[in-house]
Amino acid sequence: MIFFINANMQKNKSGIEHAELKRADLFRHHQTAFKVLLRDWSPTLHQDLADSSLSDDEVINLFDYFQGTEKVNGQVVSPRSVDLGCSVDFYEDDPANNRLLAFQRVPDIQGGAAKQKLLARINYFADSKPRRVRSTELFDAFGNLYAVDFYDTRGFVSMTQWYSPDNKIANETWQTLDGRPVIEAFHKFNAIGEQSLSSWRLCDPDGSIRIFDNLDQLYKHFLDLINAAYFSPKEANIFILDRSDLGDWALTELKQPAYTALHLHNLQTVNPNDEQHALLNNHYEYSLWQANSYDAIISATAKQSHDIQARFKPQVPCFTIPVGVIPDAHFQSQTIKMAQRQPHSVIALARIAPEKQLDQLVKAIAIAQKQVPDITLDLYGYRDASNNYEAYREIVAVIKENQLEKQVHVHEYTTRGNQIEQQAQVFAVTSAMEGFNLSLMEGLAQGDVGLTYDVNYGPNELVVDGKNGCILPYGDYQALAEKLVWLFQNPDQLQQMSDQAYDLSQRYSEKQVWQAWSALFDDAKRSWPAKLAVYRPAVTDGLGEQGEKI
């Protein structure tokens, strides 16, 4: 079995999740089984999965695994159907806070007016129609909030947070459908009196109970169980580490042999222009020191593979496997000529984040606009909140400064990328660095002409200078502006490059990418007998109560 290691498959996906989804599509298309192993608890996971191309069967979430909730027939729990253990005398709707308050009337012993006692605050998912319960804040008869039950979107209590008398979270428990806690997390004081999450306890449904200091250790145990469950002498389990912080040490310490691959989704250093000497990217530092402890290192571009080999000289193979895959069906569809698109249109699909430097793109537009007055720029992407939306604020400032309100539009993240790319002429990238840039690959595949700074990794490989676009000196938005003007003033050149953009996309066809994966599978196959030869399974004979086999 092939496993992809990740934390979550949330609604707002980053490049890593998109890469996994594309890989999943490719594997599925080639009848190659895989499972995405997710570490984090998410009550909306299965709703998010339903909205993605993954099926429940293709994902094993750590919490689901122990809770026995990998497959659950969903039901809608409506706020008024929550069983609070007693009759509710009246409800008070509080739609502004997406909640319903449940009360009991308590007769006054002195004969005065009845008092009302809050039983629970029943919170529902903000956008749910009909309303579905998200959580219940539960109160005892003495007014203490003693627990909050969190519901999975499939309609069962998945997790409970237990409160201390001083109204802090004391313990958290994750339970089976019949309420048995299987995973517990404890918030305790340390030796200097600070409260923190000090311990996890796993009450495995098999009856064994284990203590872990942190979720990483629990995830390691989970990986061992998964590796054991799918272990076969015929074939190595392949673990692809898509987020190094989730298993960079765990994969090197698995109890049973497996084939492990470190997948780089980003630059390995902090300086994209000095890959041979710069300080290592914090995310990859440990795994690069451990590089020889894995079986393979995967990069999305040949350039990155080359840099890794040149600098670290790992004794394990480096595979170049694009993280983007252009489905076969795409190559059958009609190409769209530049003349049929919105004239002089530039787009960028990227997070509105500082490292994307989109303000420089807007500056380039300001310059180009002087010679191409009808030039437009449309930006699509999540707004990064860091430093109070600094990146977004800077873009807006440049627009204002140059009075580009008519030409430049900043949109939200879009799921209509393909349509937008089909209507645009130029796809521009001004990032300081990239791990690959799936959006650029897709834009080129839709015939957009690519313009990018010369940055690692991805843009300067996806764009082949002078063929499907142009590579410009890093940070030179003046040159970018000149290139835009040149392209829009030379429609033949523009069309030629667009044609090449379509053609060069073949580099990322299913066939090409599958071949790259096959090389890794072959390596796993080749190295497996040697791994098996030195593996001694654990003793099972003679360990039972009467000396029997266990």
Binding site: L84, G85, S198, R210
Partner: protein, 510 residues
């Protein structure tokens, strides 16, 4: 159907539990189905019940009921072979007969406590975080299943507790939070009981619900006899019983010498005031107490029925003469608690030894507190009696019987009693008794010069004199011992059952 109600069965029981347990046995032996009902959670409940010879089908523990564990075949889970402890990952470091430490890579992650009175069987598992905080304790039922998990608040006080059925499903929860700044159990929750969840604000509220459920499932008419004064309020609120009684195992006033006008003991006050209408009547062990109560509370009904019986097995054993016994050896037998004044037995011994220098005293019973036991030991040391006084362990059955068979006399120093069951039990072993003439019981059991001596309440000098008289006169001892055996025979099962039948408690025409 009879339900005899109390809190629990302990590893060290008081007379109340013994009396209740014996009554359960007597009624069942006489064809009247009766249950020992207990409110409290106790993972060793069935072990303790077994020590009192109570079979599972005569037990009704509230937690058992909601945990679907009224009748579970016992499985012995040795700590060393418990699935709970994955031995491929952890070391089990046996420290002593009481516990083992569970270690992971050298760090203690848990402590396995051995179930009491077992060899190496799972009792409870206490789990620790890396700072040594206890994060959870799993309690294992003596019958071999994980019965509950106790969590803790960050300050170390007990927090929520989750209860499981033998199949591991969550069935109950107890929440512990603050009421006016102090930690209490503030909620009892039942899950999926009869298809829905339930919540109760106190354990007694849950108990009332529990008993109402039991009674509503019962087609026969039901009679409840409450044995524990602390549960009067709860029993008062139970619906559906044909009759409800309170059995008094003790005197009813603070000053036992003033039962007619003295202040009622606090715990019994509700029985005679607010809760009185809820009870059909009150049962006393002695006619004397019954009469006084009837005078004091003319509107209430009072009954008298015996507190105990002597098992046939004991009555059939051959009387033991003085030859098999340890001469001049006294036994004090019962709980060592303040109100029973065991210190006065030491004072009496001191006086006795002036005449009979080799007189000795054996305390047989558990102490109400370690402090109190220490205070008794200090008196013994101060009086230079360390060689003459032994504090023996609480014992039941053969161990206790052997002890009683070897003594020469039983001494009792209570200044107030409900009956004095221990005197009957001692007499079943041929022991003459020396006791204070206190309310209620001793004068029903002891006939001066026939099976022992009653002396002025509180006068240990008189007590000592009576003992000296018996110790100095073997013929007298022989006469009293024979009388003691005879007295015990008056409390054989048949006689006691007849007394119950004639008491009016069982009769329908109350």
């Amino acid at each position: 159907m009879f339900y005899f109600v109390s809190e629990n069965i302990f590893s060290f029981n008081s007379g109340t539990e013994f009396s209740q347990a014996k009554r359960v046995q007597l009624f069942n032996a006489k064809g009247q189905q009766a249950f020992y009902v207990a409110r409290d959670y106790n993972p060793s409940f069935h072990q303790s019940a077994k020590q009192l010879d109570l079979p599972d089908d005569q037990l009704l523990n509230m937690y058992d009921y909601f945990q679907n564990a009224l009748s579970v075949t016992r499985r012995q889970i040795p700590v060393r072979f418990a699935r709970t402890i994955p031995k491929r990952d952890y070391h089990i470091d046996g420290i002593d007969a009481n516990y083992s430490l569970i270690k992971s890579h050298g760090r203690i992650i848990a402590r396995a406590t051995i179930a009491p009175l077992t060899v190496g069987l799972m009792g409870n598992m206490i789990y620790y975080d890396r700072f040594g905080n206890t994060v959870a304790t799993d309690y294992w039922d003596w019958r071999g299943f994980k019965s509950s998990t106790q969590y803790f608040h960050p300050d170390g006080q007990p927090g929520p507790q989750i209860f499981f059925d033998p199949a591991g499903r969550k069935v109950m929860e107890v929440i512990r939070m603050n009421i006016s700044g102090q930690l209490f159990p503030t909620m009892y929750r039942l899950f999926n009981y009869h298809g829905r969840d339930w919540r109760f604000d106190s354990e007694n509220d849950l108990f009332i619900f529990f008993m109402n459920e039991i009674l509503s499932q019962q087609s026969e008419s039901s009679v409840i006899i409450n044995d524990r004064p602390s549960m009067i309020g709860a029993v008062a609120h139970i619906h559906g019983a044909m009759a409800k009684f309170q059995y008094l195992h003790d005197g009813h006033t603070v000053d036992s010498d003033n039962p007619l006008r003295g202040r009622l003991s606090d715990v019994l006050t509700p029985l005679f005031t607010a809760d009185a209408p809820a009870f059909t009547g009150v049962i006393t062990a002695t006619e004397a107490q019954r009469k006084i109560l009837a005078r004091r509370f003319p509107k209430m009904a009072f009954y008298c029925a015996p507190d105990t019986f002597v098992p046939q097995q004991l009555l059939q054993t051959r009387p033991r003469s003085l030859t098999g016994r340890r001469l001049h050896h006294l036994i004090y037998f019962g709980r060592l608690s303040e109100e029973k004044h065991p210190e006065q037995a030491i004072y009496a011994l001191s006086a006795i030894r002036k005449k009979i220098p080799d007189a000795s005293l054996e305390f047989r019973g558990y102490a109400s507190s370690a402090d109190f036991l220490a205070s008794l030991k200090k008196i013994v040391a101060d009086k230079d009696l360390s060689d003459a006084v032994v504090f023996a362990d609480y014992a039941l059955g053969p161990v206790l019987w052997q002890s009683l068979d070897q003594a020469q006399m039983v001494i009792q120093t209570s200044t107030g009693e409900g009956f004095s069951m221990s005197l009957i039990e001692a007499m079943a072993h041929g022991l003459p008794a020396a006791a204070y003439h206190a309310n209620f019981g001793p004068d029903v059991i002891i006939q001066n010069g026939e099976n022992g001596f009653l002396v002025k309440n509180g006068s240990y000098a008189d007590l000592a004199a009576a003992v000296v008289k018996v110790f100095q006169d073997h013929a007298l001892w022989q006469h009293l011992s024979a009388g003691a055996y005879q007295t015990a025979h008056r409390y054989d099962a048949d006689s006691v059952w007849r007394a119950w039948q004639q008491s009016g408690v069982l009769s329908d025409e109350r």
